[in-house]
Symmetry: C2
Subunit: 482 residues, 2 copies
């Protein structure tokens, strides 16, 4: 027999050792530790830890939509449908949805690609959103969320078996999960830099530079975009999207459009336009050749149901043989949570004017819109007034990603401690002010620049406290280095 615990250790898959435990995880652990200390009565200059490092509206105190919760609760516990207390459209919706569940129970498995009726609902939603562009249910796969969708789509084409590993063009800064998933599958991240000075614009010259630099050491096959941007808050206009599509067409790249923040555009001059809509409006040869996967989720926008888990991916222009392969691949997974699927159906078909639930539903959404617009203004105002911090306009999504203009002495001190300067800034902010933010290096940034990410989907009251803590800490931090 081997000595205790030695057998597996020797054998843990080598690729695992390469997964870096993220700085965010370390900060979250420290935040939990501080919270425990506060609960034990340890004195600190703050009474609690405020955590704005997640993209999570409910964590920030924003409330779920009443109609959504009434329908899901009724599906779970259908006795509620016998009471008079729920609006009739809630009852009808729940009855309809239960009728699509095997055995009339949300506890039954569904088809691995989703309940067929809900897949059709999603296709109708997409088509309506895109002004009538056709959306075929057989191109839509429901998953437990966009992380899962992204992983499945990467599995479809990323390969390490060939001499040249698969490359994917990835924005810097970006959504860190994507890079991690790509590297776990053995793919290569090909970074292209968003133009911070111009509101985090996507520049085709930069895409071309990145692509050409990558060729030779990997096989670039796809281009990943987040629009509206996480963590950058930019929203691409039609021209910018057209440019990217044209580039993808010329270079034969599979477009991965992460559009989970499609409901979150705060800038009155900007609109969300889907990549699919632009692609179809460009006409042939683009509309019938550029391969596209578009992602959406119940975790973001007005729903904010991160904990319920649900999302979908729609494929466009994939060869039928590839789609067959995709179908087989998605079939290897268990179905997504039925409650997540139901929530997706509500997202696809929300209450309409005239429905009993419409007044409350639309009022809740209006209030949330107002909160977000007000939050954006306050964040830009306060951060804009802080010396040594600057923030591009936040047009969409739910984050501020300000740049920290750190004095060289601060950078040197962090580097001497062997820590990335923005991690060091974030750690001090957490320890001294009880505010947990995300360090910019988690998302990627141009060398020599430093950022932090804050979720601004939170109550106005909470945001004021966040800004107060951030301002006081920042001024004190700066004063130490001048």
């Amino acid at each position: 027999m081997q000595p205790i615990g030695m057998s597996l250790l020797r054998e843990v898959s080598p690729r695992l050792w390469s997964i870096r435990s993220s700085e965010q995880v370390a900060l979250a652990k420290r935040a939990a530790q501080i919270t425990a200390e506060l609960q034990q009565g340890v004195k600190k200059p703050y009474k609690d830890v405020i955590d704005v490092s997640w993209g999570d509206a409910h964590r920030g105190g924003l409330k779920p939509l009443t109609f959504v919760r009434q329908v899901i609760a009724s599906c779970l516990y259908p006795s509620l449908l016998n009471s008079e207390s729920l609006p009739i459209d809630v009852q009808q919706k729940a009855q309809n949805l239960l009728g699509c569940c095997e055995g009339g129970s949300v506890g039954a498995y569904t088809s691995t690609c989703g309940i067929p009726k809900i897949v059709r609902s999603v296709s109708e939603f997409i088509s309506r959103r895109d002004g009538g562009v056709e959306s075929l249910p057989e191109n839509i796969f429901i998953t437990s969320g966009s992380q899962r969708s992204l992983m499945m789509v990467l599995k479809l084409f990323v390969q390490t078996e060939r001499s040249a590993r698969t490359g994917v063009l990835v924005p810097v800064p970006s959504y860190p999960y994507f890079n991690m998933a790509l590297s776990m599958l053995g793919g290569v991240m090909v970074p292209y830099y968003l133009d911070e000075e111009h509101g985090w614009d996507v520049k085709v010259d930069e895409l071309r530079r990145a692509l050409h630099a990558a060729r030779g050491h990997c096989n670039p096959m796809a281009l990943y975009i987040t629009n509206p941007g996480n963590p950058t808050g930019h929203v691409q206009n039609r021209k910018s999207i057209e440019d990217v599509i044209q580039f993808a067409a010329e270079e034969n790249l599979f477009l991965l459009a992460d559009e989970v923040y499609q409901d979150s555009v705060h800038d009155p001059e900007s609109d969300f336009i889907s990549y699919k809509k632009v692609l179809f409006e460009m006409g042939p040869p683009y509309s019938n050749s550029v391969e596209l996967a578009s992602f959406n989720s119940i975790s973001k926008g007005y729903f904010g149901e991160c904990g319920v888990r649900g999302g979908y991916v729609e494929f466009v222009n994939l060869d039928p043989t590839v789609m067959e392969c995709a179908y087989t691949l998605f079939s290897t997974d268990t179905c997504a949570s039925v409650l997540g699927q139901i929530t997706l159906d509500i997202l696809a078909h929300p209450p309409q004017p005239g429905d009993p639930s419409y007044p409350i539903f639309s009022e809740e959404i209006r209030a949330m819109k107002d909160t977000m617009i007000s939050n954006v203004h306050r964040v830009q105002e306060v951060i804009g007034s802080l010396p040594g911090m600057s923030c591009q306009p936040i047009k969409g999504a739910i984050f501020a990603f300000p740049q920290l203009h750190l004095p060289p002495s601060a950078v040197q001190q962090a580097e001497k401690a062997g820590v990335n300067p923005d991690v060091w800034y974030s750690s001090c902010l957490l320890d001294e002010a009880g505010l947990c933010v995300g360090p910019g290096c988690e998302h990627g940034q141009r060398e020599g620049t430093h950022h932090i990410r804050l979720c601004i989907a939170t109550t106005q009251e909470n945001l004021e406290e966040v800004l107060t803590r951030l301002s006081a800490f920042h001024l004190s931090f700066k004063s130490r280095f001048f």
Copy 2:
């Protein structure tokens, strides 16, 4: 630009082509097609399709537990807590659970390994179940279900980078998902045959034969077991478990104990005993050296909440460095559905005698137990009386896995059609009698033997209809070949 849809097709990851689209998926498609035909008014000798190919109690018409649904519904829609209609223990449980959710909402993300309080609940449950054997929260990871847990654990040690690929000993017959997950990761399935003639016994001689046969062409590192057995219905006794543990210790194998059917033992002479309990009762050197992962889920047993998605894995005796690696690996996933986590908490701490919900809860469980025992009797009785079909005792889990003794002419006819004989039998059963079962080849079986799998977690009424259709079809099928 490339011709339409050619770019990705050429490049789809080669490993994907090796995923066989399962026979079960093909049968499910055919079942859906027949259902659609019936709805269009096409005349068939049956009015609907009954599908017993899934391990899914709610699909079979068994009802969810009232307490479970009341608590989850209240967590989703806390206004319910203001009504008088729900028992006080439901209200308390929901309040407690909401208190563990960020922002007091089940819509917020949780720690990727699960809500800490629920992880502790699970560890208390395990310790209570195992008569006091210690269970540490830090060794427990909550996932969206046991499929996900199995996949993550395989990712921990399966590797293709070394000269010898990782092998895992897998029972035949077995749970097909496991083999698929293993092969998707590039691991090698090392089959060991359960002894059908002796109630699907696990024999150490057979384990040894399989292991020795595998050495040389792969690196066998782990041993997968399902107990109670899927699809076989066997329940291992203490001696059998001890023998397997001793073998794993001698051969330095990581034990993967799939114990999701731990609540489903129907045979009065049998008990579920966990691998962990036996391991600890064997004492050193076993208890402090044999590496074990044990799996459980909310989808099986009395809960049957497949659609809600939730489960956990507990590791035992893993080196701290490996556990750190496991922690990093599990952190790459989003959290499991919060509603699944809440259901897991109820599984860990169900109502107790004296609680207002206890009488209904215990009555529902008693009724379900009675149904299962009655179903087992009826299945054994009816199948036992059919010529050319035989079934080992069903002591646990929720399936019957009878052997079909097909006449050589039937086998030849199937083979001439290029179809596995049990797939052919299952297709005819579906077409002619509207009954959808699982073909044995999906689970693996000794060459030359043929089986079908039926889920018996269903209402007594439904079971009678299943048995009537199966008997009539079987007799007619047989008569054609004599």
